[in-house]
């Protein structure tokens, strides 16, 4: 009987000690982890286009963290959905067509001769990529344009169009049309 008691007391004491150690370690070596929102936000393409129905990428990231669907981002396309699925552990679904379709990358272009200088597009641009002043011609800083499309609608004279990003030698991808490398003797 006493042996039994001693065993119980010993184990109880041990478990207390180790429990306390573990608890301390958890506090002491706590890993500062990125909250989910940050990680989701980092995956989203940051076009701030609002096609997902939220006013920007971060709000959508918050919505995803709170359980919204991960297939509402047309600019990101399948690649983004796949990454989000990996991150959140949810199933990757095809892009929700209600929010648009994946398209080639585009940038806004202002036909400058037609611009009347109303500044409406400047106010609409989420990333300040349009330059201009009231009654002065506006222009798009193509390098900063995310192709979000938000400036097209407010233009009263329809002088903004979305043009596909031009292929240059810098963004060209090799096709597999090979040159032969085998030399016969």
């Amino acid at each position: 009987m006493t042996g039994f008691l001693i065993a119980i007391i010993a184990f109880a004491a041990l478990s207390l000690v180790f429990g306390a150690l573990l608890g301390l370690a958890a506090l002491r070596f706590k890993v500062e982890e990125d909250p989910l929102v940050e990680q989701v936000d980092a995956i989203l393409p940051q076009t701030q286009c609002g096609q997902c129905g939220y006013p920007g990428c971060r709000p959508y990231a918050e919505a995803i963290a709170n359980g919204d669907e991960i297939n509402k981002c047309p600019p990101g396309g399948e690649a983004t959905i796949q990454k989000l699925a990996d991150l959140t552990g949810r199933e990757a679904k095809p892009l929700d067509a209600a929010h648009g379709e994946e398209d080639v990358k585009k940038v806004a272009f202002i036909r400058e001769a037609e611009c009347i200088g109303c500044t409406k597009c400047i106010q609409a641009c989420p990333v300040d990529a349009i330059l201009g002043a009231s009654k002065m011609m506006h222009t798009v800083i193509a390098d900063e344009c995310t192709g979000c499309d938000l400036c097209v609608e407010p233009c009263p004279v329809d002088c903004i169009e979305m043009r596909p990003v031009k292929q240059t030698t810098d963004n060209w991808k090799w096709d597999l049309k090979a040159i032969p490398v085998r030399v016969i003797d």
Partner: protein
């Protein structure tokens, strides 16, 4: 360190892993000395011929340029290009580039005049007495890029080198089959190369200089050894093995050191320059000649006179081939670069650039077309051949299946694209192409990630700014309110003060007259009371007036007339042409608003376009003639456009409201100037078309309308009453017309889209 130097001195050679031994076939092109080509009809000079960005143009179309004159400026890492000969700039346009994609790039087309007039050359007379920065600057302004194939700006290699450099290696290995341009250069210009090496030694001050040459070029080795006698230079014959000419491989061969992943050679104490580059550096510094030409190997069995040629940059490949006796045959492949690392040109009009070391035109038997790609059998031969000790089969797997991050983990970016793996592959898989593709995709992904980061920053910065602007506005607002209150209070007290003074004066007068003591009056404080009363009266009056005004306004609104009357009346009375124009715009806006109301009462859809125009002219007529005429013309044009859109003119009122503000002012300002006016009219017309489209698309809810109305009203501030009346009439007419046109419009609806697009 010390030991490496000693070992090298003792003649030790290391080896790099892998490598292959393809047939070299260099003798085809080494039987003749380097020949010079006649000038072609045109030279096509791409602005960007090296790794990095192109420079800024310095010349314009039509300019006459001299040989050696800079055509673009090299700033911020860009390299300049120079006119290879004297002549006239005929065009600056996009032209297929010497790139595997042959995508057009900005190219300067030069028509040689055949006179070869040099611009002023500024050789550095005593280069070895100059500080190295002067020499590096000269090398940069001479546009010298690495001529070995990669095209890295030579000046940057020199600039970035550490103070205590151990090895300067001159790369004469030229390991790729067929190519012999460096070989010939060493045979024929060894003395100049030795001078070039001296210059580099002066700039870099290395502990040891090595010249690495493959042992299948005995003439070159001999010539270089002879030329560099007496200098602290070791000419090393290295075993022939592909790719010993790769920068990292040659470093490993000669020093036994490995360049770290993603690093540059100087991190392991080495700077390497190609033979061609060394020669160009000598020419630039000692002769003042910028980089204008290079030696190109033209070879292959389909060429009758294979050999090496001095060719100006910008020479079309066709010109080169014609002089080498190339018989153009359908379906011949023209390869720029060697058979291992080169690329097929889509046609022969591609210009020669700084990195083009070889033009290879093989016969069908010589280089058979690639066979059918077969599945990877994981035989591992590629891994054995890889000079960078990578796992090509894994890289292939991940690249082909788009697992790009995995490919990156397997050090895809350490691949030098030498093609050894593809050469040994029994399944004939074009491995290097998979790697190149995966690399470009990864690079693009990285660029996009960077861009999205920047977009995020900009977005956040903007939000912050807007937030701040809002706060500031509120603060200003509060301040303004406070000020206004203070002002009111002030004015009251000032009034009081003035009246007190008056009263005091009166009292004094009275006192004088009546001889009464003034104190009594002051004590009474009677002066304050008259004050207050006056103020109260004034205020009451003002209130009354305001009430009247409000009543008027309400009445006007009830009637659907806008009438912010008192002010607008007085404004309108001033016969200002500008105002007239504004009034016209306002009238249009009103007409639209009313039309809308009428619509809401009736069908949601419709239009009064035809009637719309009428108020404008009427509003205009009372005004000054020429301006009026111009405005009328613009309006007429807009009308015509609207009509062209068939009956959709109905929508015109809408758009006008939206554009009213921007358009009215310019039109008033500029009616005299034709093109501007026309542009405004066009803009208005476009806006109209757009609004129409919008309307059609979105069924208007009543709530929308109520929202829009307040919007339109602020704009019309200066409206004349007559205009309002006109607008009313117009609206009525519109309602009538609407019913009539409904049928028509529906038809037109479909067409309107087309027309608006045409418009745009």
């Amino acid at each position: 360190m010390e030991t490496t130097l000693n070992l090298v001195k003792l003649g030790k050679l290391w080896d790099f892993p892998g490598g292959i031994h393809p047939p070299v076939r260099k003798s085809i092109s080494t039987s003749h000395p380097i020949k010079r080509l006649p000038l072609p009809d045109h030279l096509y000079l791409p602005l960007k011929q090296h790794v990095g960005r192109g420079g800024q143009l310095l010349v314009a179309v039509g300019d006459h340029v001299l040989k050696g004159q800079a055509l673009s400026s090299g700033e911020q890492g860009a390299l300049p290009i120079h006119a290879p000969t004297s002549g006239k700039v005929e065009a600056i346009s996009d032209y297929p580039s010497a790139h595997p994609s042959a995508l057009p790039e900005t190219t300067l087309v030069l028509r040689p005049d055949g006179e070869e007039h040099w611009c002023e050359r500024n050789p550095i007379d005593t280069p070895l007495q100059q500080p190295k920065s002067v020499l590096i600057e000269k090398i940069a302004t001479s546009g010298i890029a690495g001529l070995g194939g990669a095209g890295f700006p030579a000046s940057r290699k020199l600039d970035g080198a550490p103070e205590s450099l151990e090895f300067l290696i001159i790369n004469g290995a030229e390991c790729e089959p067929y190519i012999s341009c460096d070989d010939m250069l060493m045979r024929e210009h060894a003395e100049e190369l030795a001078t070039g090496i001296e210059l580099l030694v002066h700039i870099l001050n290395p502990a040891m200089v090595l010249v690495g040459i493959e042992d299948d070029k005995p003439e070159a080795i001999e010539a270089m050894a002879k030329a560099t006698e007496g200098l602290n230079v070791l000419v090393k014959a290295i075993p022939t093995k592909y790719p010993s000419g790769g920068e990292k491989q040659l470093i490993q061969l000669l020093t036994g050191r490995e360049v770290p992943t993603g690093g540059l050679p100087y991190q392991c104490g080495v700077v390497m320059h190609n033979i061609g580059t060394t020669y160009a550096i000598k020419r630039a510094i000692c002769d003042g000649e910028p980089l204008l030409e290079r030696v190109v190997t033209v070879t292959g069995e389909a060429v009758e006179q294979p050999g090496n040629y001095w060719a100006h940059f910008g020479t079309p490949v066709r010109h080169l081939l014609e002089h080498a006796g190339y018989k153009s045959k359908h379906g011949r492949r023209i390869i720029m670069g060697g058979p291992m690392m080169g690329f097929t040109l889509p046609h022969a009009n591609i210009p020669l650039v700084k990195i083009s070391n070889c033009i290879l035109v093989p016969s069908e038997q010589e280089l058979p077309m690639a066979g059918q790609e077969m599945p990877c059998i994981r035989c591992g031969q590629c891994a054995e051949a890889c000079p960078a000790s990578l796992l090509p089969q894994q890289l292939y797997w991940y690249s082909a299946h788009k697992e790009l991050e995995k490919a990156r983990e397997y050090k895809l970016f350490d691949c030098i694209e030498c093609g050894a793996c593809a050469y040994v592959c029994p399944s004939e898989i074009p491995l290097v192409h998979y790697y190149r593709r995966a690399k470009s995709e990864l690079r693009q992904q990285d660029a996009e990630a960077l861009k999205s980061d920047r977009a995020k920053q900009r977005f956040e910065a903007r939000n912050e700014r807007l937030e701040q602007a809002k706060l500031e506005r509120e603060a200003r607002h509060r301040e303004a309110v406070a000020k206004r209150q203070a002002a009111v209070a002030n004015r009251g007290s000032q009034n009081q003060g003035a009246q007190e003074a008056v009263a005091a004066a009166m009292a004094r007068v009275k006192a004088q007259q009546s001889d009464q003591p003034p104190a009594a009056i002051i004590d009474e404080q009677g002066n304050l009371q008259p004050d207050n009363q006056a103020a109260i009266e004034a205020r009451a009056k003002r209130k009354e007036e305001a009430a009247k005004r409000r009543a008027e306004k309400a009445a006007a609104k009830a009637k659907q007339m806008e009438a912010e009357s008192p002010t607008s009346d007085s404004l309108a009375s001033a016969k200002d042409p500008r105002k007239a124009a504004v009034a016209a715009a306002v009238a249009r806006a009103k007409a639209k608003a009313e039309a809308k109301k009428a619509q809401s009462a009736e069908t949601p859809d419709e239009e009064t376009s035809v009637t719309e125009p009428s108020p404008e002219p009427s509003a205009d007529t009372p005004d000054v003639d020429p301006r009026k005429a111009a405005v009328a013309a613009a309006v007429a044009r807009a009308k015509a456009k609207a009509e062209a859109k068939k009956a959709q003119g109905a929508e015109t009122p809408d758009n006008e409201a939206s554009v009213a503000k921007p358009s009215s002012e310019p039109s008033a300002d500029t009616t005299d100037v034709d093109p501007r006016k026309a542009a405004v009219a066009a803009a208005v017309a476009r806006a109209k078309a757009k609004a129409e489209q919008k309307r059609r698309e979105a069924a208007e809810s009543t709530s929308d309308q109520t929202e829009q109305e307040p919007k339109t009203q602020p704009a019309p501030a200066p409206v004349a009453n007559e205009n309002a009346a006109d607008a009313k009439k117009a609206a009525i007419a519109a309602a009538v017309a609407k019913a009539k046109q409904k049928a028509m419009e529906r038809q037109a609806a479909a067409k309107s889209e087309d027309s608006s697009e045409e418009d745009a």
